[in-house]
């Protein structure tokens, strides 16, 4: 039986006693480009304040893991998460709401254990964006790998979302869009 600790107490660096399933942030902001840095900072803080989140403590030994803060792999991992969120939210504000300044963006961040396509259990960061803008399904779009010789002047956003996530899911409930972006921690 695992010992439970207060999820707000950062003093423990041992993932075995940290209830990752309870780690969750919900945030609702106006659907404006100047609000996106707040969303990104929230996710960055979420990664930084959970002790040992990206360490190998609860990882099977045969999987690559993200290392501690300060390392390149940690920085790139956190940057990837921020980027995926920025691109998805920016699409919603610019295309979904057509930069009207009206409407909202709701972000939920969580750390569940999920099953990958092979059925293996993986710890993942899940970002969910909900909005009531025009419907847009980023999973239904064709995305090309950028060609450095051609240097296109669009299309990088969706490419990055696809490239930097392990799983994407879009659904529409009534007037609400919900985009779920999953990235395995290890």
């Amino acid at each position: 039986m695992l010992e439970q600790t207060n999820p707000l107490d950062n003093s423990s660096a041992d993932l075995r006693v940290f209830p990752l399933e309870s780690a969750r942030i919900n945030l609702r902001v106006p659907a404006r480009l100047d609000c996106l840095p707040v969303l990104c900072a929230t996710v960055r803080e979420f990664c930084a304040t959970i002790p040992g989140l990206l360490n190998a403590n609860d990882s099977p030994p045969n999987r690559a893991t993200i290392n501690a803060p300060g390392t390149t792999s940690y920085s790139n991992f956190v940057y990837s998460i921020e980027l995926v969120l920025q691109e998805a939210a920016s699409n919603i504000v610019r295309h979904g709401y057509q930069e009207s300044g009206k409407g909202f963006l709701e972000l939920a961040v969580s750390l569940p254990e999920v099953e990958d396509l092979a059925g293996a259990k993986r710890r993942a960061i899940v970002l969910e964006l909900t909005d009531n803008a025009l419907p847009f399904d980023p999973t239904a779009q064709l995305v090309d790998t950028p060609d450095p010789l051609n240097m296109p002047e669009s299309g990088y956003g969706l490419y990055l979302i696809r490239k930097l996530t392990d799983h994407l899911e879009y659904s529409r409930f009534g007037s609400l869009n919900n985009l779920k972006m999953v990235k395995y921690v290890h």
């Binding site: 990104c40 920085s75 450095p148």
Partner: protein
């Protein structure tokens, strides 16, 4: 806008310092600035990115537009001092193969000074 923009000149070539977050909010401003600085008489541009800690896809597109305009005018477009995470983004999008990237201003201006 969480981006600081400063324009100066070195060896007669526009040198832009960007600091902060180069994203959807600031990209069109920077793109317009870059495009206004390049023409047949002045086809070169250097952007110092040492202070930029975040670039998104629209930031990238602003830089691509600047580079394309320089090339159309037979000039060069150079980027200085990408932070490691920003470089990671360039590698993800393969734009590290398209841009001329330099670690320092001195290196970026070396052949301008000679020329």
């Amino acid at each position: 806008m969480e981006l600081d923009y400063q324009l100066t000149y070195r060896s007669g070539i526009p040198l832009i310092y960007l600091r902060g977050r180069f994203d959807a909010e600031s990209a069109s401003f920077v793109k317009n600035q870059l495009l206004s600085l390049v023409n047949e008489q002045q086809p070169n541009l250097v952007v110092n990115m040492q202070g930029v800690n975040f670039v998104d896809s629209l930031g990238l597109v602003a830089l691509v537009s600047g580079m394309k305009l320089c090339r159309r005018n037979r000039g060069v477009f150079r980027l200085v001092g990408l932070q490691p995470t920003v470089r990671f983004l360039f590698e993800m999008t393969r734009l590290d193969q398209a841009f001329e990237l330099f670690p320092t201003e001195e290196a970026a201006f070396a052949d301008f000074a000679r020329g």
